[in-house]
Each structure stands twice: as structure tokens, then as C-alpha cells.
Amino acid sequence: MKRLLLSLLLIVATPMMAEEVVLGLSQDQVAITADFDGSEILLFGAVKRESPILQDPPLEVVIAVSGPSGPLTVRRKERKFGIWVNADAVEIDRAPSFYAVATSAPFNEAMSNVEDQRHRVSIPRAIRSVGAPMGIEDAQSFSEAVIRIRTDEGSYQLLENSVSVDEQTLFRTSIKMPANLTEGDYPTRIFLTRGGKVVSNYETVINVNKVGLERWLFDMSRNQPLMYGLMSLAIAIAAGWMASAAFQVLQRR
């Protein structure tokens, strides 16, 4: 950790911008174990600057943590012949499996619309949807549905005013990651803004990995599927036989 911080310091030491981020993470690895029940990641850091602190506009911090992205199909049900069936479908080109945005002020104050468009920070901008099939007029409602459903299950979070900034220099926040995390690299971006304009940004990656038994089972199911299937069957048969034998003993008594 110390070495990491040191190397970070060395990287940011080269003066390119007036204000830069020095970041610390409580953990840059999330290990999914058998009893994994979500995780809380603490992000903290400092602003490094050469010049005196500008008082106005104040410094704001926006932090975005994103899960692995992939394409999705969103379907909408419609009433046909008296029953509800999937009718229209829209392909979403890229949507992250997890996305959290934490800000030190209301989002619109912390980051202007133009900057949001450029960096794709807000939740709606993190989802990329290119063109819906012909005949679907309200394609917008499909990506809105993705946000609504995933926000309800805690996968998408907008945490306004959750980053605390001290003396325009130190900032910290914590982000709760839900229990149903997918494996992969979680790109994490930190933006420093003044008056809605991005003055500096910083990127790092949080690694989410299955470990131990979870890792072993997952790898086996992919690399030796037949063995895995036979093992599942063997466990099933053994458990069935054991229960039967145990109950027979119990009944004889």
C-alpha cells in the first residue's frame, strides 16, 4: 500500500495541471468468498496543488465506480390476445453491471451537462444505446427501464452529497457494493471540478475476483464441464443415499 501510494505520488508529482488527485483505496481488490455478502469500499484522497487555493468557485469531487460492461436485451410486455407477452425488444449496446456515482454536491452543480456528456459520468450517460429497431418510437423508455430496475436492486447508485471534502484538499467517501457482484475489473474515475468544469481527473481499477472454493468451482465448470457435471451427479446420488440410510437407522430405533 505504501509503495503504491509512493508511486502514485511520483506519477502525480509531474506538474501538468494546477490541481491533481492523490488517491487511496481501503482495498483495490474485492475477494468474492463463499460467504460474500457485499462489500464496502472506502475511497479517500487529497488534492495536490502548487498554487494557492482558489476560494471561488469551490472544489467539488465526483467519483464513479463502474462494473464490467456488456450488451443487454430489454424487452417490454404487451397485452396480446388477453395475455401479457414480450413484444418489443431493444438492444442496449453497453451497460455496466454495476455503477455508482458519488458527488460532493448535487450532481448538476458538481458537473455541468457538457462535461458529463464528454466524460459519460451520470448513470444515463453510462449506458450506451445506439438506435432502436424500426417501429419503436419510445426507445428512451427502454434505457430508462434498465436504470429503474437496476437502481431498485441496488446495482446503480447515485449518491449525491456523499463525498465529504475538507479544506478543499481532503476528500473521502464509501461505496457499498451489493452481494450480487460480477467478476471483473471495476474502472474507478475521480473528477475534480470547479464551477461544473473538470479541472483534473484520475483513473484506477478495483479488481473483483472469486477466490478459494468459489474460484475452483467456477474454473472447473468452465474447463472440465463433463467432470463437473459428473461430480454434481455423484454428490446428488450420495446425498440421496445417505439421507435414505440415515432415516432407515432412525426408524429402526
Binding site: D37, T73, N86, R150, T182, P225, L230, S232, L233, A243
Partner: protein, 305 residues
């Protein structure tokens, strides 16, 4: 206690899974159904991805059926000969069913088809069984002697006759083979062992005594679901062994309790309870189709063209 499932990639309560497994296991041992038609929707409901739920459920059914069939073997209520005939038909049907399923998936709307299949079959079988068992109960109350159900119909005119000693039948192998194939096809499409179709078919189409039906049905379900488990594990990688273990620990214990409970009930009562259960599940699924869902949109993985 929360457990993270390695293949399903969700975290669920371990005791909830044990309980679900136990409940479905009791039903399985009592009625000779695998319980898949109950468990699969329940797993969807607690947030397991459908593909994983269907595949893992098959593995769990192997365990509870095996546990149940051992108890039946001891009571000599398994007709091995009949089971083997049904099974050979069943495997052919299952293989054909998988082909049909993939064809339908290519056409889209496979979900709807599966649901409609459930509603139609559960509805028809449930209500037929319910009416029949009510009549049987009424009849047995009027005259004390057991009702004679040995009817001679066209089935007895078919060639290739075989003696099924345990079932007390002397019939052609053609009807059980056809029943096996049809049930196999349906089982593959609906992702279940097919016990809830097989049991009534054995009772009403083949005229087997109810006591033998349950054990024989369990016997053939083991092989059909074992086959399905391997297919899912090798082609879709969707069998979650951690989920299966939790479900089957509850399931095998439940199956033992269920088998013993079953011996306290009369055949007609057993059938009427199964009929009610089937009708209940059918009604739930039908309501889902008829009522406006609270969330019209659903997110699916892409690439399944």
C-alpha cells in the same frame, strides 16, 4: 447466513434454500413428482437467473428422487420393468425435446411457450385428477369393497404384450413407450423431470396401481434428470453445484419424510392432494399471464438470437 453462489453469481440466504429444498422434497417423496414444476418458479422468484435455476433444479431432482426411490425399493413398490420401458421412451423424447426447444428458441418467444405449456398441462391434468379422485372417494364410501378398475379397451388389443408383475399388468409395450416419449419431450421443453405428467399417465392411461406408480415414476425421473444435468453442465455451464448442494440437503431429507407421510394416506387422498397442488400452481402461472405486471420491462442477456 448468506452464501455467494459461484455460477449464479448472486448471494442468497442458505437457510431459505434449505427450507425450499425440504418443502419440495416432501412433495417429491409423497407424490412421486420431481418437484421441478414448483421449485423452478420459486428459484426465479428469489432471484436466481432462469438458465441456472432450470439446470441446477435438474441436479437437485436427481438427489431427491434417488433418496425417495430407495425407500420405495425397500417396500418393493418399484416396477423396474415398466420403469425401464418408460425410461427408454423418455430418453428418446428428451433428446427430441431438446432439439425442438432450440428450434423454438431460434424463433423467439420460447418463454411464452413454456408458460403456456405449464398452464395448459397443469390445468388439464390437475382438474381431471381432481374430478376423478373425488368420484373415487365418493364411490368407495358407498360400497366398502375396492372399486375394480380393470377395463378392457383398445390398449389391450395391441401386439408385443409383456407381463409387468409388480404392477399386475399384462399389456403391450407400445403404450408405455409412447407415454415415455411424450413425457420426455414435454420434460425437456418445460425443464422438469415430468413426474407430474408421468404419474397421471401411468394411473389413467396404463392403469397401474397408485402405490407402484410413485416409485416407478421416481426411478425413471432419476435417469431423465441426470441426463439433463449433464447436458446443461457441458453445453451451457449453468449447473451451480453450491446451489444444488443446499437444495438437495433439504430435498433428500424432505423426500424421506414425504415417502413416509405418503404411506399414511389413501391412494385417492394422495391423488386429490396432488391434483389440488397442480391446480394451484397452474392458477398462479395463469394469473401472471392475465394480470398486468408491475414492471413491463425485463432485462435479458444479449446474444440469444
Amino acid at each position: 447466513m448468506q452464501i455467494y453462489l459461484p455460477i449464479a453469481e448472486v448471494s442468497v440466504n442458505a437457510f431459505l434454500l434449505l427450507g425450499l429444498g425440504g418443502m419440495v422434497g416432501v412433495l417429491s417423496g409423497m407424490f412421486g413428482v420431481g418437484g421441478g414444476f414448483l421449485m423452478t418458479p420459486l428459484l426465479f422468484f428469489i432471484g436466481i437467473p432462469p438458465a441456472v435455476a432450470v439446470a441446477t433444479e435438474a441436479n437437485q431432482i436427481v438427489a431427491s428422487s434417488f433418496s425417495g426411490v430407495l425407500a420405495h425399493f425397500r417396500r418393493k413398490t418399484v416396477d423396474l420393468k415398466m420403469g425401464t420401458v418408460l425410461l427408454s421412451g423418455g430418453l428418446v423424447g428428451a433428446a427430441f425435446g431438446v432439439v425442438l426447444f432450440n428450434y423454438l428458441k431460434a424463433q423467439g418467444q420460447v418463454d411464452l411457450l413454456v408458460r403456456l405449456c405449464y398452464v395448459v398441462f397443469l390445468g388439464v391434468i390437475g382438474s381431471l385428477m381432481f374430478v376423478e379422485s373425488l368420484n373415487a372417494i365418493r364411490k368407495s364410501r358407498k360400497n366398502a369393497g375396492p372399486p375394480k378398475r380393470k377395463k378392457h379397451n383398445w390398449i389391450h388389443g395391441l401386439p408385443l404384450k409383456m407381463r409387468f408383475r409388480v404392477s399386475g399388468l399384462y399389456i403391450s409395450v407400445i403404450p408405455p413407450l409412447i407415454v415415455g416419449v411424450l413425457v420426455g419431450i414435454l420434460a425437456a421443453i418445460m425443464g422438469v423431470g415430468g413426474g407430474f405428467i408421468m404419474v397421471p399417465a401411468m394411473i389413467y392411461l396404463l392403469g397401474m396401481p397408485t402405490k407402484v406408480v410413485v416409485g416407478t415414476s421416481l426411478f425413471q425421473i432419476i435417469f431423465v434428470t441426470g441426463f439433463t444435468t449433464l447436458l446443461h453442465a457441458t453445453t451451457n455451464y449453468t449447473v451451480d453445484i453450491a446451489l444444488a448442494v443446499l437444495l438437495l440437503v433439504g430435498g433428500v431429507i424432505g423426500a424421506q419424510i414425504g415417502t413416509r407421510l405418503g404411506t399414511y394416506l389413501k391412494a385417492e387422498q394422495l391423488r386429490i392432494l396432488l391434483a389440488l397442488l397442480v391446480i394451484l400452481v397452474c392458477a398462479k402461472l395463469a394469473l401472471d399471464l392475465l394480470l398486468e405486471p408491475s414492471e413491463l420491462f425485463s432485462i435479458g442477456a444479449s446474444g440469444g438470437h
